[in-house]
Amino acid sequence: MVIELRTRLTKLFPLIILLAILFLFPLFAPSYQIFLLSYALLLALTALGYNLLFGKAGLLSFGHAAYFGLGAYVPGFLTTYTSIRSLEIWLILSIAVSAIIGALIGYVCVKYTRIHFALLTLAFSMMFYSLLFKFYDITRGDDGLYVAIADILGTSFKMSKDAYIAGPLYYATVVIFLILVGVGWIIYNSPFGKTLEAIGNNSARVEFLGVPVKRYKWYAFIISSIYGGIAGCLFGILSGHVSPTALHWVFSGEIVFMCVLGGTRLFIGPIVGALLFTYIKTYTITFTIYWQLLFGSILVILVLLFPKGVLGGALTLLRRSRGEKVGLRT
């Protein structure tokens, strides 16, 4: 019993260290680093939600930025046109908007597979992009909208933006991140998640077993939209500004890239991918304008040599070096 508990604890030990670092981070890090980490965590959430669709159900959406962007526009609109300044209400509305739009678009899109699915999601996301881009009177077009500092749990913060990001907003982000990762873990390991995985592997067979495949895909679509919406809402507050680029398909491509980078077959793959992506991109941009060259090369190498992503590839190498048999799955 004691031994069992001890092995459990040693297994949990790295997790506890990570949590401690997450919570203590603002105490020793400069404000820019806190901003960057918050940003990375939000992208990780988006990628995690997206991977339910992409990694599990095998649906490649090229329009996932739409839900992130719409989630980000909710606080933008509320700041500009109302006096609501509450993070909770913003979040709830972001969830509602992304869920409703995700449900509508998803309902239509899940009827299609493969390339048609990718093209349809792309078309719908670019529709929202061009709407936000062109209706200058309402959305300020390319200039985007300003997002105010939000009250959190009824407390309003009279402090500088930097202090706000480093303090209340960071902790709100971390808490929401942890909750959503937990929820994600439950979803991934639930019968629903396993069924989605089966659909991704062979949807004809799953259909044959009597599972309503399209409805399952639809649910996955909505869940991943909600993840994008929540992350987008927090991103809007974090950056203080939203513009249509948050909905552009290039960003959708980056979300896919994060998942592939980390490895789509593992739960933490997208999270690791998003963190890697943010830090590599930020630091490459500081010393070269040719970051696309680097990213393109990484992507090509990944697809050709490590289809399981950085984590999956590392895991395979590790197992091989231990002399274990490596199957198709990691």
Binding site: F135, G296, L299
Partner: protein, 281 residues
């Protein structure tokens, strides 16, 4: 121009079954190559119409050469994988090509309107149309016909279509189908390069310029039908018409209407207007 771009994209999709996102990169490369050639040829004092024709052929050709490296090295290993891997690979390639252009030509905005002026304008119904536009139309039409001729009237085209139909059978007859794949990819890329070099005098030239035609072309081939050459031509006309009407009457939702049309057509006919029906899984 969009016709040429979409034809190349659709050619690659219908024979190689790969949706080539790097097409935008090849287009950009075509524009830049023809720009460099244009500025150097203008110095030697050739007539504009000849120089334009030369530019088009050479720039497209050079872009096509690149295909002989790209296809066997990068694309061939992913044919057996899913569409997702192929999309990602060509997306990576697009990023690489765009930055190579940045490395080679810098970040500035260029513009070479020489040919545009040299050919003069024609007044029609009180408006003056640049003659270059007619030339562009004529070239697009000719090159589209050329592709049709290659595919449907030559032995090469027949072999290509046979490979698309039944690759193993054709291989068994002693045809090196891998070589044909490379050639088809090269032709598709050449059409992207031609599209770029023909548009060169009309548009500002900057890195990443290939993104807009790429996305429009996705709409075109999806509307017209993935894998159908007729569909690419019709789709290009639909998108071109809708956009020019849209800019005139309702500029706010001009782009949105294009996407909306694509979505509606895909919903009613997922295979597009002229596409062949694909089995759902």
């Amino acid at each position: 121009m969009l016709v040429l771009f979409s034809l190349g994209l659709n050619l690659i999709f219908s024979y190689l079954n790969v949706l080539n996102m790097a097409h935008g990169g090849f287009y950009t490369l075509g524009i830049y190559l023809s720009m460099t050639l244009a500025t150097s040829i203008a110095l030697k004092g050739l007539l504009p119409i000849q120089s334009i024709l030369l530019l088009v052929i050479v720039a497209g050709g050079i872009t096509g050469l690149l295909a002989f490296i790209v296809e066997p090295l990068l694309l061939r290993p992913v044919y057996i994988r899913g569409h997702a891997d192929q999309l990602l690979l060509t997306y990576g390639l697009l990023l690489i090509l765009d930055d190579l252009v940045k490395l080679g030509w810098g970040l500035e905005l260029h513009s070479v309107p020489a040919a545009y002026y040299f050919l003069g304008t024609t007044p029609i119904l009180g408006l003056s149309f640049p003659n270059y536009n007619f030339f562009l139309l004529l070239m697009s039409f000719t090159l589209a016909l050329l592709l049709w001729f290659i595919l449907y009237k030559t032995m090469f085209g027949k072999t290509c279509r046979a490979i698309a139909e039944h690759r193993e059978m054709v291989s068994a007859l002693g045809v090196n189908s891998a070589k044909f794949f490379t050639l088809i990819f090269a032709i598709g890329v050449v059409y992207a390069g031609w599209g770029g070099s023909l548009m060169m005098p009309l548009s500002g030239i900057f890195p990443g310029i290939g993104l807009e035609p790429l996305i429009l072309s996705f709409i075109i081939v999806a509307t017209g039908g993935l894998g159908s050459l007729k569909g690419a031509v019709v789709g290009a006309f639909i998108v071109g018409l809708v956009r020019s009407i849209g800019i005139g009457y309702f500029p706010e939702i001009e782009l949105m209407i294009v996407y909306l049309i694509m979505a509606i057509i895909l919903l009613i006919r997922p295979q597009g207007l002229f596409g062949k029906r694909e089995i759902a899984w």
